[in-house]
């Protein structure tokens, strides 16, 4: 059994270079786990093969985008860790920032709505004791 296990080795592959690592971090492992290739556990026998495949493609002169395309054609859209920002899938990138922008607009209106009119300005009464302590703190802070 342990000898069978020994087949799960990275021994045949190299230490991935930067481009290969980057590509492996943008592609999902196809072993059925929910991880990117670079993060698939060391029990996985598929991830090393995929890294090897990426390496061969990079060595053969394919660009990063071409490697993604080749993987997409071979394993389906799911292999990309994030879908390409086009068509409906553009929304995955757009919506978080649309949501944030909408929030900023809402806050702007809320603050504006909650701001008092100058004609109806609340007059703040500062208690003499508060004033005494405030001066004390101010003096202390200026030291």
């Amino acid at each position: 059994m342990l000898l069978f296990l020994s087949s799960f080795t990275f021994g045949q592959i190299f230490s991935p270079d930067e481009t290969v690592s980057r590509i492996a971090d943008n592609l999902m492992c196809t072993c059925g786990c929910p991880h990117i290739i670079g993060h698939c556990g060391d029990e996985c026998s598929v991830a090393p093969q995929l890294v090897h495949e990426i390496s061969q493609l990079v060595t053969a002169g394919n660009t990063e985008e071409e490697v993604y395309k080749i993987f997409e054609d071979k394993y389906g859209l799911r292999v990309r860790a994030v879908p390409k920002a086009e068509g409906f899938n553009l929304l995955v990138w757009v919506m978080p920032f649309v949501g944030l922008l909408a929030g900023v607009v809402v806050i702007f209106f809320v603050i504006n709505r909650l701001k008092p009119d100058d004609s109806n300005q609340e007059t703040e009464k500062v208690h003499p004791v508060d004033e005494k302590y405030r001066k004390l703190i101010d003096r202390e802070l200026e030291r």
């Binding site: 999902m28 949501g99 929030g103 806050i107």
Partner: protein, 664 residues
């Protein structure tokens, strides 16, 4: 025991149904005996679910494989502690645990509110009983943990080996305490909305319960991260897995609520917003349970697929509709009591803080559910994974970190240019200095540099707040600095406990940035006796050893670790092969220091003794665990009750910070 467990679940469902009706009728008719009866149902329910849970534990510990759940998640050869934890190893037990914890919390709420929040309690009890009732429906009719097989297997299938470690003994129940804890604020808020009791008198109770849930969620998330770090063997602690996201989202919203409720308590503002946040946090906790146990999305946590999805979706829809209906219905009575004077005020900065928490939560939610949505629309399966979550959350996280430092420096109502300059000068100086130190230490990338500077800025803000407060207190009541600091902190646990939490946040950010941007990893294939180097370490592969245990085969390598020519440690990374699950498992070995973790994985080996090691250097990871520990302690500090107000306390001078806040 099987029958007793069955009957307890049925009895619990009956009690929930009766109690819910009694609570509503009692509340509407102002009938105290009926309301008390409903509250007693909450207590009785805890007894029934306690007995049902004891039955399941008994069946697990006695290997009663006639029970389908026991046969699926336990086995004769697993240690007793894992038979005990097999209770939450699968969906049925997890849902029973959810109901048990909720019934326990409901019991506590009932006792806590015997003489307070009386207007709210009938409806609060009804909501709690309704929620427990939902789980009872599931447990009785969809996923019964006491369901039997029509034969008795010789042995069970055993617990997933990934779950057989000490983190799994406490990670799920702690996380569930957090999830379930959020049901209490929801029930109290619904009680307030339905009863029309919309003042702020009940808010402290809600705030404390939310904080309890917040602490448990944070602790549970951390335990999960530690488990992933030590068990999954990829060198990281957070993978933006859908289930991790599902636990993180309610925590984010609970954090937003804990900030916004301060505005409500101090200024009477944002009341509607608070109700929305409480509702959202609860619904996300249900959504999290649904994601964890339904198998609707692919996850490392999807240990079992199930049929509970439609039940959860229905409950989510109903409870959201109910919550929204009452918020809209009461919206006119929930207007702000005070007005916001400036964009440059603490109120406004808290609003911005809330926006960021909700935006991060939304981005995570969107990324988590988008694959399902995309498949519905385009018919194609896609994945949204780590690169998306990292890219989107990096700028939002930075903004949140900076705001953590900015908020305390801005005065309530309106900041003047003078106090703005005075307050910001020192923290900004510290931020700049942190950046210079980071450059001196070799950091050249812009993103980590900005983050480390922001960490310095926020840390100094917090430390300076303690310093200023203690100095002012010394002036009012002469004493040593440390005594003044302690007095100050104890007098305003909420404020200074919050600052302690923020100091923890700084460490967490520093740790995340350090371990993400400066991580290095390398694969080495070496023969016995050979040496290899990574970072400052030289590792010598001494030998490979095989061992047979009753439940697994183990192979482990002896690695001697050297630094600066001196031997500093021996590590034994190993691989296990469990006979039953036929699943190989990596047992990572980690040498931790504050500066970095040396993370060693035995990736593979060959017959002649040659082995491949995957070695990582993960800088500053320990800061994350320490930071979270500080956050948890800070949260617990805030929870310590203040002394009862008496005449002596009433005469006490206000703290300098309180006075400064008022004056500003």
């Amino acid at each position: 025991m099987i029958e007793l467990g069955h009957y307890c679940l049925i009895a619990s469902l009956v009690v929930c149904t009766f109690g819910m009706v009694a609570a509503i009728v009692g509340g509407v008719q102002k009938n105290l005996p009926l309301v008390r009866s409903a509250e007693n149902c909450l207590i009785t329910n805890f007894v029934f679910l306690g007995v049902a849970s004891l039955c399941l534990w008994y069946l697990l510990l006695t290997d009663e494989f006639l029970v389908e759940y026991v046969a699926s998640y336990s086995a004769t050869d697993i240690p007793a502690r894992f038979k005990f934890t097999a209770f939450w190893g699968g969906q049925k037990g997890s849902l029973l645990l959810w109901a048990l914890v909720l019934s326990f919390f409901s019991f506590l709420v009932t006792v806590q509110n015997r003489h307070r929040n009386r207007d709210l309690m009938p409806y609060t009890a009804a909501v709690l009983l309704g929620t427990i009732g939902f789980f009872m429906l599931l447990l009785n009719f969809a996923t019964n943990p006491f369901e039997t097989l029509n034969f008795i297997p010789e042995d069970g299938q055993g617990l997933n080996p990934l779950l057989q470690n000490y983190y799994m003994i406490i990670h799920p129940p702690v996380l569930f305490l957090g999830y379930v804890g959020l049901a209490i604020p929801f029930a109290l808020a619904m009680g307030a909305l339905i009863s029309g009791r919309l003042d702020t008198s009940w808010l402290p109770t809600v705030r404390r319960w939310t904080l309890v849930a917040w602490i448990f969620l944070l602790f549970g998330l951390t335990l999960g991260g530690m488990w992933a770090y030590e068990e999954l063997g990829w060198g990281g602690y957070w993978a933006w897995d859908p289930v991790e996201n599902a636990s993180f989202m309610p925590w984010l919203i609970a954090t937003a609520f804990l900030h916004s409720v301060m505005i409500t308590e101090k200024k009477g503002m944002l009341k509607i917003w608070n109700f929305v946040l409480i509702l959202l946090a609860f619904e996300l906790s249900i959504f999290g349970t649904f994601i964890t146990r339904s198998g609707v999305v692919s996850s490392v946590h999807s240990f079992a697929l199930s049929s509970v999805g439609p039940f959860f979706v229905t409950y989510l829809a109903l409870s959201t509709a109910l919550g929204l209906f009452w918020i809209v219905y009461r919206s006119k009575e929930l207007h702000s009591e005070k007005r916001m004077r400036s964009f440059l005020s603490r109120e406004a900065s808290f609003l911005l803080n809330n926006l960021l928490f909700v935006a991060i939560c939304f981005a995570i939610f969107w990324g988590t559910v988008f694959p399902i949505l995309s498949e519905w629309v385009t018919g194609e399966k896609i994945t949204v994974s780590m690169p998306f979550f990292n890219a989107v959350n990096l700028p939002l996280g930075l903004a949140l970190l900076i705001l953590t430092g900015v908020c305390p420096l801005i005065a309530w109502r309106k900041s003047s240019a003078k106090n703005f300059k005075r307050n910001f000068l020192t923290p900004l100086g510290a931020g700049f200095l942190s950046g210079v130190v980071a450059v001196a230490l070799g950091v050249r990338d812009l993103i980590p540099l900005v983050f480390f500077s922001a960490c310095g800025f926020v840390a100094m803000t917090m430390i300076y707040e303690f310093y200023k407060g203690a100095r002012a207190r010394q002036t009012i009541r002469p004493s040593g600095f440390l005594v003044a600091l302690m007095d100050l902190t104890l007098m305003n646990k909420r404020r200074y406990g919050g600052f302690i939490i923020h100091l923890g946040v700084v460490l967490v950010f520093a740790g995340i940035i350090g371990s993400s941007f400066f991580k290095s990893e390398q694969l080495f294939t070496v023969a016995e006796g050979e040496e290899f180097s990574i970072g400052d370490y030289t590792l010598k592969y001494e030998q490979l050893t095989f061992r047979k245990d009753p439940e697994k085969e183990v192979v482990f390598a002896h690695i001697a670790v050297f630094k600066g020519g001196k031997k500093i440690d021996d590590l034994y990374p190993q691989k296990d092969f469990h006979y039953k699950s036929e699943q190989p498992m990596t047992e990572v070995k980690i040498r931790s220091t504050l500066k970095e973790d040396l993370y060693l994985v035995l990736s593979g080996y060959e017959e002649g003794g040659q082995a491949t090691f995957h070695v990582f250097i993960n800088p500053l990871v320990q800061l994350i665990w320490i930071g979270i520990g500080i956050m948890v302690l800070g949260g617990m500090f805030v929870l310590i009750p203040n002394k009862k107000s008496g005449p002596a306390v009433a005469l006490k001078k206000p703290s300098s910070e309180e006075v400064r806040d008022k004056a500003a």
